[in-house]
């Protein structure tokens, strides 16, 4: 086993362990934990036997195992990007709702007419 294989397997092993523990503790969702486990196990398997990826690649019509890995990585990165982007959009939308809610709450909590200008006369401020 080469040094690179040892390093790669160690990293993937840690990743798999992280997925398993996080899934067990429910700090991440079960589907995410399963995906992390599958990716790390597949990676360890490919690192242990590089020819295996070539055999799988040829079985599905791709000439080289390296190409298969590149395609899979591209797919995973793209899917991760989409998920991350959609979550970011959701957070931004929630932030907007919070900001809007606070603005109305702040304006309504005073005299019910928003921020009346500082130099408004009492008569104007009390005018319904």
């Amino acid at each position: 086993m080469t040094t690179f294989q040892i390093i790669l397997i160690s990293i993937l092993g840690c990743l798999g362990l992280f997925g398993a523990i996080s899934g067990f503790r429910r700090s991440i969702g079960r589907p995410a934990a399963v995906i992390i486990l599958i990716i790390s196990l597949a990676g360890i398997s490919a690192a242990l036997d590089p020819n295996q990826t070539t055999r799988i690649a040829r079985a599905i019509g791709i000439s080289r195992g390296t190409d298969l890995i590149v395609y899979l990585v591209a797919l995973v990165v793209f899917q991760g990007f989409v998920v991350f982007y959609l979550r970011l959009r959701k957070v931004r939308r929630e932030l907007t709702l919070l900001v809007r809610h606070l603005a109305i709450l702040e304006a309504s909590s005073g005299d019910g007419r928003g921020r009346i200008r500082r130099n408004a006369t009492e008569a104007e401020a009390s005018d319904p």
Partner: protein
């Protein structure tokens, strides 16, 4: 009547009575039932004049400071009848929705959207408010191409025409000016529309929401003042690609 009591009486008068010709034929009661929402972002220079030009006719003006970093909030507190503030900048669409929600909660019968950079004219707004109040439509939209178009810069004209074409194809909406910020909505129409696009894509989103709401829409000729200030504050043509991207993502990704 001495000077002091005369001043107090003047201050207590409705704005429409203080400036009898300011209503331009619009009934004061209709003006008083209409709330003008102005989203404001870094407009400390111009906003006082803009609000001052509206308040003689419309007493209910809601200015929403969208997290400005200049003195806008101080100016608004001083000159706006109703001033609200987003503590973070969330975009014009969000500010419009905040102002609209606030106005509806205060019992507004009609909501008008008006830009803060001084490019809209009071007389156009009055005409549109009269149209909605007179039951000509539920939503009145400004159409700059039916008015004097000589001031519209050529690049902007091309972009705006492209946006019109785009909406005809994508949304099936047959309007002639889809990115005009001057709008008047009846209470029912304003209640049925909720803007979720934070940034500038809200103009396109509003058109889609209007199309889906089934409200009666009418375009009114308006003149946009392309002052040096408004041109500098306005969107760059490169920004239209970002708006398009945000709109498409919002439309298809939900």
């Amino acid at each position: 009547m001495n000077l002091v009591s005369g001043y107090v009486k003047l201050m207590r008068m409705p704005a429409s009575e203080k400036f009898p010709d300011a209503n331009n034929g619009l009934e004061p009661a209709i003006a008083d039932e209409t709330w003008v929402v102005i989203p404001v972002f870094n407009e400390a220079e111009a906003i006082r004049e803009v609000i001052g030009s509206i308040t003689p006719c419309f007493k209910n003006v809601v200015a929403v400071d969208d997290g400005s970093s200049d003195r806008t909030w101080d100016v608004l507190q001083d000159c706006a009848p109703h001033a609200l503030r987003h503590f973070l900048n969330r975009g014009q669409g969000a500010a419009l929705q905040t102002g609209t929600d606030y106005a509806l909660a205060q019992g507004a019968r009609r909501i008008a959207h008006f830009d803060a950079d001084g490019q809209h004219r009071l007389e156009d707004l009055q005409k549109m408010v009269a149209g909605v109040a007179g039951d000509e439509c539920d939503i009145a939209l400004g159409n700059r191409f039916a008015g004097d178009i000589s001031e519209i810069p050529a690049t902007r004209r091309i972009l705006l025409r492209s946006a019109v074409l785009f909406h005809r194809v994508v949304s099936g909406v047959r309007l002639n000016d889809v990115h005009n910020g001057l709008r008047v909505l009846s209470r029912e129409a304003a209640t049925s529309i909720e803007i979720t696009a934070d940034r500038m894509a809200h103009a396109s989103e509003i058109i889609d929401l209007i199309a889906r709401s089934g409200a009666r829409v009418r375009e009114y000729p308006v003149t946009i003042r392309y002052s040096e200030y408004a041109r500098n504050k306005g969107q760059r043509w490169t920004g239209s690609f970002r708006i398009l991207l945000h709109y498409l993502i919002g439309r298809f990704a939900g």
